[in-house]
Symmetry: D2
Subunit: 424 residues, 4 copies
């Protein structure tokens, strides 16, 4: 009665771009064809490309980050036909494991150039930057972030069921409205509408279908309430049990954008430790689960083996909704969290890291970002907690400051720009 | 060599309103006189009134909540002269313990009427409501929230050093600007500017000083980046070590608004388990600490005994920045967290609680609110985690739903309004 | 509808010896009279003397420890009549809180002289010693153990229901048999049989009853499987729910020997931070619970707020069942744990503590003692874990050793004996 | 600058017995030749056979367990030459990961027959039994233990450096003395002395060396204080950093006996989830570390990702040193832990499991075994905690008992013996 190895339903090729691989796709659309069928109760392994489909390389410069083609993201494995799933059901997905690929034991965290992607702090740090992480078992270290080591809270950045045609229409409409109304006030894109260029419809071979997907397919950048998608929740890690609404026959579940680790907020946008990897999932169905669970958005039960640094091993920064230039915002948790990030940068740079290194660290390490108070008008308060034990030196407030040579992260070749921002 | 009992530097009277007690005050101003002097290295006990100064009573109606006088908040104990603290220093405050007063073993959580205070969900739940909690040792239960019991993550809602005259001016200016620019778009107050009515200047006896404080004193409602104040951080609990910037001689540290428990966000505004209590604090000083620690806002190291329900004992709801009416917001974590709250209400009401009960529960129980992804334009994603083990029945997605009679929270006498809101 | 303060069913007097106080007793016997009646569902507060009934004082010598009168222990509050409890029932006791008495904010840990009590390591450390701990809120520190601070995992050393006459007889018989068969091989007492001298029968006034209790009453030193008693389980702390078999009408529940903190093993015998204090308990009954739960010994569900130092913040020592002189024992976990203790002493003394100080520390701090492997003949393996963060300097294996002057614990006046034991 | 996959220094063959594979060995002896050299700072992968070298198969009977050949254990990978390690040094081994082999995703837990191996409870459960576990990612389930699922706290049962000739002699002498003095009182082996039959000297080809190892080589069954070996510590899991004394040039480090999961005590002897697997280790050296760290036995710092069920999710049984027949033992933690195991069996069998199933469960699941009090003469007290959430039904004391059909574990074909033991 030997047990067979767990079945792989997707394998990926690390030597070819994502759009050359029909087992992945990069747009949300109900017409992307199934790549495989999975039975209820079955556990399968699914290999995933890194989100850019092999655009980023293991080097000490950030030219690849600067020039990344953001029409060619995210490459997702699937969609999968979960046998018997019907619209109205709840698809239950248990994350049995996530691992980097044994054949590529590294990942990266990037800061996009403000003119090509940007990020949470691009007002202060507009340049492209990168850190390469070595992945050894459960640990990550980086030559670009010396004296730091942590255990990855490994997870998929993206999981989701396919939208119905109606939901897809709703997405495109509401995001289009936003873009129409506020884009003129922003210098980076506020929403990414369907983009035919480099749309990848997976296994689709019918030209009309391919064109339809290219024209209508929702971009994978935002998470969306109806199906999850790119939610980037670091605690959706090993052992989690997730409940998704089903909108189309067979659920058309897709997964990708695997992260070895991420901080709450994933602030640099390319901000986790991005990697190619393999995820082990088990599927089941709650018939009529949308109604039964009052399920308008995914819910989940986290796993039982997250990093446990001990609650008192975090140094915690408070951030309020007053901008860095002293402007009062109204109960704005986003502004408040940005301020907490800035406080952390000012604190950590005293040890010798430059601001871009810290930005990468806050993005990729297991940082805790909490909403604290959100009703004390006009200030929202958030907290950002850094586990002190990921450093091999003492960063506590009691530590004696010894400014070390802590190198630098990767920048564009021959870069010459400030790496410290003087906040007011 | 007997050790003396720990010295009380403040005692409060539960039978008199806050403004009749000179050992407390309710405005932030550098001229509020010291009530006591505390030595560096000394541990002291400080009794605190509940934040309203005894306005709320232990009853089954919410008339007291509806009629609360919000010009008469928050009553803070102090300010204290920390011997030797100088502007530029960092004041280190260690929270040795927080306890309800033995003579008043109950607390309350309130939902303010939309016309008098409001809260995070006042668009859907405009009425006043209340839950009274019995506090037995570390546990809280409420006759208004049956079948729930939890351990309090007990903490002060407010701690802070006094602002300098310059900082106070800055506060009043920037909050005034906000009010001037956006108040007309809101039906609740967006900021509370200095309010002479019911200003309480503590021990001040000089009439000119009293009037100055009344006229200029900053309200205690918002936390503020410069000194913390009403930050409402649930994890700032027993064992925490907090680092505050000092702006005036002696620091003029004040504390109050004790909470037996609170959820992340404190969403109903009067939203923790509010109580009178006693806090035990130890003080020390890092000379020139503002510069040494790059300390623009308070930081802290949490304690080592928070509630530990186990990471996999939370049911977690995802919330995205699309409003409840389907409008797309831009990377708005506040909207996203509101959606997570709504998802939790829709889920929990299936068991028999009404929406106001759940609103009170999310406010006061040890709810985890995280910023998940804040860069995936246009959607911020937040999560709200409810510890399943605070219920004495199974609330997991696998639970069979048995609708129970779970009573109701306190409303205004003879109230007659909907207790369930139909979201789109 | 004001809630009354929680009812005290026992108050103690710190100025009088235990045997002058009828609300406590120091022998287990079914005939010790009830002191109070408690209703099912009622929560009460119970003050307790320290276990010796005020024999130990806050000084810098250990003469009180050396001369302690061990016929006068442990003074337990009660017994209490739990209304309606019947033989065969299960008594459910919820620990709502434990606190030191506000009027005596200190405790002590002692090492008994080998000739009067002894302890786990009395072969190497035969002298009397003591450490006084200051108790400030949740924290303990000691002038006799400098550079150490920890949060107390506070708990009662003793809780138990009264034995029936039959069970009492069984206890005396089986412990008598042990004493008869092996006492001649030991130089400390292997069991303490009923001891009329200083027997304290609580409220009993009938001379015949007093004499019967003195003659037959079981000593309180050992925990016993039938009812728990002096189990000294550090995790039986705040929030725990305990299930006791009931053998007599009304259960006759007693409690005492409160510990502010204790390490697994409580190795120095007087080995916790012993204190006078107050415990808040809630009682209920499972009728016929002995049969229903197959309840031959107490069971419990621990609380949710124990110290959480983080699993990776412990330095862990392995101990095997080979004695310190190289003799092989057979699967002896007791020997194995002793070896782990010795390894910890050898390790910690390098920093400047003397062995007696470390012995006191391992006894009283939140040390983790695990049974690891107990079947690998002939060696049992145990582990002893010390939380590194209770020290304010680095004790990790990577730490540079800087031998500090770390003072000493209290010894007998003018003591002159080795404080370091040279193990083979 | 591509990173190469991590180097494998050992691969194993699952189709051949252990003694046919020269990259493994099964005796401790300084003369077993190195299989590979590993550099300081290098991270390597090491495949390991299951401890029996493929003797156990995935079936529903326990004949393989009954007939296991215990002269042919444990097959360890190595020994490895850690470049530069010298006697007197400390070898630091960081466990980066442990995984089952992808090609064999199952493991087993066995109860040995009393006449061939036995175990902690063989007085009551003398028959052979087995449970096969399916390993899917981090989770284990077993068709022989239905309704149970848990995350593996995965670890090597055995790690150790080679003994010097002198230490080896000491081992054989002291274990020989034990055997000589007490074997006649036991019906199972109290120690296993060197056994030439089926000795496997790894890569050794010199006949004299092979014979020397066969004659003198220490058995791998016990852990030993000098080097660790078969310590079976469940928390020596992923992320742990271990410190071993070095006795011979190159350290001659060996590893094996990988466990997917184990309870404290590993009570059934073949008692973990035994598996073939791969371990990822990183090596470094502290020169002269034995003296520097006072290192007589291995020490370790555990990892930061153990199972975290929440402290209040354990049902905890107390065990005292009174035997199951009512005999009083003297401070015997081994007896006390056995009693705690019996209490757990009596409790769990009410739900429908038979005693052998529970024995297997206590052995293999993440059970917590603590030493509680070890000085309260004559009773040692231990505790055994079972995480309630590994069951998919409620096992709390409040649960309504519904006796289910929970199948059985594997027994010998056509077995017919009691599966419930009636304790007094």
């Amino acid at each position: 009665m030997p047990i067979e190895p767990i079945r792989y339903v997707t394998k990926v090729d690390l030597s070819k771009p994502g759009d050359a691989q029909p087992q992945v796709h990069n747009r949300w659309h109900p017409d992307v064809p199934f790549t495989e069928t999975i039975k209820v109760g079955e556990t399968v392994k699914i290999e995933c490309l890194d989100w850019t489909g092999n655009q980023i390389v293991n080097t000490d410069d950030a030219n690849d980050i600067k020039d990344v083609d953001l029409t060619r993201i995210h490459y997702l494995s699937g969609p999968f036909n979960i046998e018997g799933a019907k619209p109205g059901d709840c698809l239950v997905v248990e994350i049995k494991d996530v691992q980097p690929l044994e054949r590529q034991p590294w990942g990266y965290c990037g800061i996009f150039h403000k003119s090509n992607g940007g990020g949470f702090l691009d007002g202060f740090y507009p340049e492209a930057a990168k850190a390469i992480f070595d992945l050894e078992g459960i640990h990550a270290t980086s030559r670009h972030l010396p004296n730091v080591k942590f255990t990855g809270l490994i997870h998929p950045g993206i999981m989701g069921t396919a939208p119905s045609a109606g939901i897809l229409k709703e997405w495109n409409s509401r995001e289009g409205s936003l873009k129409a109304s506020i884009q003129h006030n922003h210098d980076t894109s506020v929403a990414n509408l369907p983009e035919p260029i480099n749309s990848h419809a997976g296994k689709a071979s019918d030209k009309a279908i391919i064109e339809k997907i290219a024209k209508e397919g929702a971009r994978t950048i935002p998470g969306r309430p109806e199906h999850g998608g790119n939610c980037d929740i670091k605690n959706l890690s090993r052992g989690s049990k997730c409940y998704f609404p089903v909108y189309v026959e067979g659920a058309k579940f897709s997964v990708g954008d695997l992260h070895f680790s991420q901080g709450d907020g994933e602030i640099s946008f390319c901000g986790a430790i991005e990697m190619a990897g393999v995820i082990t999932l088990k599927f089941s169905i709650i018939p009529n689960g949308i109604e039964k669970l009052a399920l308008k958005s995914p819910i989940f039960i986290p796993g039982d083996v997250p990093n446990n640094y001990g609650p008192s091993r975090y140094i915690t920064f408070e951030g309020f909704s007053v901008t860095e230039t002293g402007e009062q915002q109204y109960l704005d948790a986003t502004t408040a969290y940005r301020q907490a990030c800035i406080r952390a940068i000012e604190y950590l740079r005293r040890f010798g890291y430059n601001d871009y290194q810290i930005y990468l660290l806050l993005s990729s390490a297991p940082i805790e970002g909490h909403i604290a108070g959100i009703v004390d008008v006009p200030n929202a308060c958030t907290t950002l907690g850094i586990p002190m034990d990921i450093f091999d030196f003492d960063i506590s407030p009691e530590a004696e400051i010894v400014r070390q040579d802590l190198g630098t992260c990767a920048f564009v070749k021959n870069a010459d720009h400030p790496v410290i921002y003087k906040f007011k």
